[in-house]
Amino acid sequence: MSDMINEQLSALADDELPRGEFPLLWQRVARDPELTARWARYHLVRDALRGDLPTRVAPEIGRSVTAALAGEAPVAVRIGWARRVAGPAVAAAVAAVALLTLQVEEPAGPSEALVVPVTANPQVDAGRFATASGFQWDQAQPEVQTELDRYLLNHTDDAVSTDEVTRNEAPR
């Protein structure tokens, strides 16, 4: 059994392990320091044969990196955090740029003073976006208008969800 595992590890080092054998092998490697050490030695041999070793080899460098990473947040957690923050941040930035750009253009006359944006989401009260500022989208480019409307609506949704996330997260 042990030889079979070690042979799989050897094949993994060569990128020759059948894909289906990886998950089970990895479960063992991840919790067996001897298999991890063997993995390191297989690559040490390769580096030695290919002239990739430094003049002086410090076998403990891997351990020092592991120790240094002990205080780091797990990757998956950081991905989740980044996604939660990045989405609303991008939406907010785009909406802000859109608003600033459009506010430069004053309405042409009283007859065009109030245009309610088309809403993709009927559950959202579109009127609240139109009443305060009195601007209008460029009617000559309806696709731009639709996009900008969507950004505004998405931003509203994201802003709410960000608040909820912030409230629900435990302090780090």
């Binding site: 050897s10 991840a30 297989y42 290919r50 990739d52 430094p54 003049t55 990196v65």
Partner: protein, 192 residues
């Protein structure tokens, strides 16, 4: 691994939060990165610090690694940039990569003493290489050929099977048995 390399499989694990998978990548590339950084950073202790820093940067950036390049190519760039940033911070100029960076004995000893390394914790590459080559020389022909074709020529199992006129499973087994024999000779050296 079919259409997926070991690195790809390990990176996917890391991106799911598996720290042990990252440790495996560190163990796989640690010496190559130390060697690479050593071309820029003379001082061994500093080179080890820069290597560590490069791996930490890789850990932090790996959620954004999308596999457009090979993992080692990506890691290589991080290590080079970290070494160059270190040199800028130290107000030193990078050393030409073509220069032989072997250091005088006196520097080696002074460096060891200065940074508290003990001889037991340092292995000379030559020592390791000699042990490995000695172990390979002692192998039966079919094992020696298989491991040499794999490690020195970088041939795939399929190509080795054709060259040696045997099934792929036999190649896998021969390479493994060769590694076991080499490992038996190498382990005591690393444990000393």
């Amino acid at each position: 691994m079919g259409d997926q390399s070991a690195d790809q499989a390990l990176v996917a694990r890391v991106q799911q939060g598996d720290r042990a998978a990252f440790d495996a990548l560190v163990l796989k590339y640690q010496h190559r990165i130390v060697s690479l950084v050593g071309r820029y950073v003379y001082d061994r202790s500093e080179a080890l610090d820069v290597t560590q820093e490069a791996f930490i940067k890789a850990w932090r950036a790996i959620p954004n690694f999308r596999g457009d390049s090979a993992f080692y190519t990506w890691l290589y760039r991080i290590a080079i940039n970290t070494a160059k940033n270190h040199l800028v911070a130290q107000s030193r100029r990078p050393v030409d990569q073509g220069v032989d960076l072997e250091e005088p004995e006196q520097y080696e000893l002074a460096s060891r003493l200065r940074h508290g390394d003990t001889p037991e914790r340092i292995l000379l590459a030559d020592e390791i290489r000699e042990t490995v080559i000695g172990a390979i020389d002692a192998l039966p022909d079919e094992l020696r050929t298989a491991i040499m074709l794999r490690e020195l020529d970088g041939m795939s199992y399929e190509d080795i099977a054709q060259t040696m006129d045997c099934p792929i499973g036999t190649v896998r087994s021969r390479i493994f048995r060769a590694r076991e024999a080499i490992d038996e000779k190498l382990r005591p050296l690393l444990e000393e």
